[in-house]
């Protein structure tokens, strides 16, 4: 029996049992589709995070209090040894540094007329928009003298502006931050949704001095944002800051730093790590569905071959050889697995497109996931189509014919 005839026999048999064929393929379709879609979400989140950090610039440095060895990645709050004067000294003494912005953060309740909103308060310096490449959309940012005199002024994130003013012009209005009145100077440009983690537009910026005195009642700062004059001089700036702070903090030679300086790649790394966990988690869930799909394929294949023992007997009685039976079932399994795998890829890629379109999440289809999913489900399908067929083809034709 040649290939064409075998293919014809197999296709006829599949066509004869459309429902069973469809159900078998369905396990593969869903398994493959789920893996591809899930992994694409994880990969997309990772890319988004990387792109975000990329866009923030490579000349950024962040100075945090506390030594690097002590676990305090985005630390702050628990250390009090970083002062406003440190930031000023960095700006004055480090030649490779362009701007600095001392930061203190907190949360507060905002009130405007009858509206309430709870949000993050960023206490920052006047160069914050330049350092973070985050300009104001309307109005102005506060200036140096407003910072120095700790004025009660605020610049709103677009989300806050939207929620408190609902499209009305906020500039010049007075909002209450923890019952203290602040005058709104401007609104920051919208950063847009960010992969579903948190909304970066849900914040207001006020002078750090005001935040220290009026809101938090502290005299230290939590971090310093620094921008080097150019990306190529970032390392130089880091060295200068380190040297300066060691002198200012009177650290003996050999003593550990009581601060740590991170650049963008450090921050990006820890953020990518988080999305990596997401990818692994989603991939894990999808693998389970692939496994369940595999068990489904196995079941249907085993049952269908058992159910078809009589058919095998009939074929044998009219002269089918062991090999003919095997080839037929193998061809059926291959056709179903490949067709199912192909449809699964279509489903996976399609749903990841839909997710990125409707859920506003970036997705990225990974070739590795496609290959893994297709190979796995195809092997399961082929093996469990082949193995029982091999057993059946060894049967005595008389027994096979008598099988009920």
């Amino acid at each position: 029996m040649n290939i064409i005839k075998t293919a014809k026999v197999a296709l006829r048999a599949l066509n004869r049992n459309k429902m069973r064929s469809f159900l078998t393929a369905l396990g593969i379709i869903i398994g493959v589709g789920a893996v591809i879609a899930m992994v694409s979400i994880g990969q997309g989140a990772k890319m988004e995070v990387e792109a975000r950090f990329e866009s923030m610039g490579t000349n950024l440095l962040f100075v945090y209090p506390g030594s690097r060895s002590y676990r305090g990645r985005f630390g702050g709050g628990s250390y009090t040894n970083l002062k406003e004067a440190d930031a000023q000294a960095i700006l004055d003494n480090c030649s490779a540094v362009q701007y600095v912005s001392p930061n203190v953060n907190g949360r507060a309740q905002l009130v405007y007329q009858n509206k309430n909103w709870n949000t993050s308060i960023y206490g920052v310096g006047d160069k914050y928009p330049e350092i973070r490449k985050w300009p104001v959309e309307e109005g102005i940012f506060f200036n140096e003298s407003q910072v120095r005199s700790a004025q009660k002024v605020a610049v709103l994130g677009s989300e806050v502006s939207q929620n408190l003013f609902e499209g009305a012009d906020p500039i010049g209005q007075v909002i209450r931050v923890n019952r203290i009145p602040f005058r709104v100077l401007g609104v920051l440009e919208s950063k847009g949704e960010s992969g579903g983690f948190f909304n970066r537009d849900d914040m207001i910026a006020i002078p750090y001095s005001t935040a220290q005195k009026r809101l938090l009642g502290v005299d230290y700062i939590q971090s310093i944002d620094v921008s080097a004059v150019s990306p190529s001089r970032t390392d130089e700036a880091q060295a200068q800051i380190e040297e300066l702070l060691r002198i200012r903090h009177k650290l003996a030679p050999g003593a550990e730093d009581d601060f740590n300086i991170r650049d963008m790649s450090d921050i990006a790394e820890s953020a990518t790590e988080a999305t990596q966990i997401l990818t692994v988690l989603l991939g894990g869930i999808a693998s389970i569905s692939l496994l369940v799909g595999g068990i489904g394929i196995m079941n249907i294949m085993l049952v269908s071959v058992t159910e078809r023992i009589r058919e095998i007997g009939i074929r044998m009685s009219v002269g089918a050889k062991e090999r003919d039976i095997l080839l037929q079932f193998l061809t059926e399994a291959i056709v179903l697995s490949l067709l199912g795998g192909f449809l699964g890829v279509v489903l996976g890629v399609g749903s990841s497109r839909l997710i990125s379109h409707f859920a506003d999440m970036k997705t990225m289809v990974s070739m590795g996931a496609i290959i893994l999913a297709v190979v796995f489900s195809a092997s399961v399908g082929i093996f469990f189509g082949f193995y029982p067929a091999r057993k059946a083809s060894k049967l005595d034709p008389i027994e096979a014919l008598r099988y009920e």
Binding site: M1, I4, K5, K8, V9, R12, R16, N17, R310, E311, G313, I314, R315, M316, S317, V318, G319, A320, K321, E322, R323, D324, D396, P397, I398, L401
Partner: protein, 232 residues
């Protein structure tokens, strides 16, 4: 006379092992079937008639004895060689039809040709001819579940004939049919035997069916009890 022997059975024995005990289903059958015979095998259940038919049909091999089909020793062939013989030289008709479900009459008839080296085009032609022979013209594309019992048995006969076999074996071919339809099926067999000179071996326990045959072998407890000639 030697050339005229289609089947030569010599001391055929078949022993089944059931656990420790051995059951002798056939205890030395010796018989010759001539070309063009219409032979009936009768006997009560357990007499070994199905076992004998399975051996003649190359579905099973005898434990001992010699079986020559058209002069060729087949009792020592392996499974694949037996499949080849079933494909080309033997056609089967079963009591329960044994057709593929949800499949057209034509496709069922084509089935043996798919396992031989007949080309695709010729396959269709041969199957159509065979269906015409049993009076099913125009019903080629009906699926098995749209056919009556008699029609299904005709499809089975068409399938048995399609590859031009030297021997057609029928195991209780009228067993699942009413008397009238059974008679029609028997007419087809006798007509094929008379007009096409096809050798037919029928297994039955219906004496009326056996009457249509020229010779009848009566089996009892795995041995030939008697042979009757219908004097034709």
């Amino acid at each position: 006379m030697e050339n005229n022997k289609l089947i030569h059975l010599e001391n055929i024995e078949r022993v089944y092992k059931v656990g420790e005990t051995q059951v002798k289903a056939l205890k030395g059958i010796t018989y010759d079937v001539l070309k063009g015979d219409l032979l009936a095998i009768m006997g009560p259940s357990g007499s070994g008639k199905s076992t004998l038919m399975n051996i003649i049909g190359c579905l099973d091999r005898p434990t001992a004895g010699k079986y020559l089909l058209e002069g060729q020793e087949v009792s020592k062939l392996n499974k694949n060689q037996l499949a080849g013989i079933r494909n080309k030289r033997i056609g089967f008709v079963f009591q329960n039809f044994n057709l593929l479900s949800r499949t057209t009459a034509l496709e069922n008839t084509e089935l043996p040709l798919l396992y031989s080296d007949v080309s695709g085009k010729k396959t269709r032609e041969m199957a159509m001819n065979s269906l015409a022979l049993v009076g099913l013209e125009g019903r080629e594309l009906h699926k098995t579940n749209q056919l009556s019992g008699g029609e299904m048995q005709r499809v089975a006969i068409a399938r048995a004939l399609v590859n031009g076999p030297s021997l057609v074996l029928a195991d209780e071919p009228t067993g699942n049919l009413d008397t009238k339809t059974g008679n029609e099926i028997m007419e087809i067999f006798t007509k094929l035997n008379r007009e096409k000179n096809i050798t037919i071996v029928l297994v039955t326990h219906d004496p009326e069916v056996a009457e249509a045959a020229e010779k009848t072998i009566f089996l009892r407890d795995g041995e030939i009890e008697k042979i009757e000639h219908n004097g034709k």
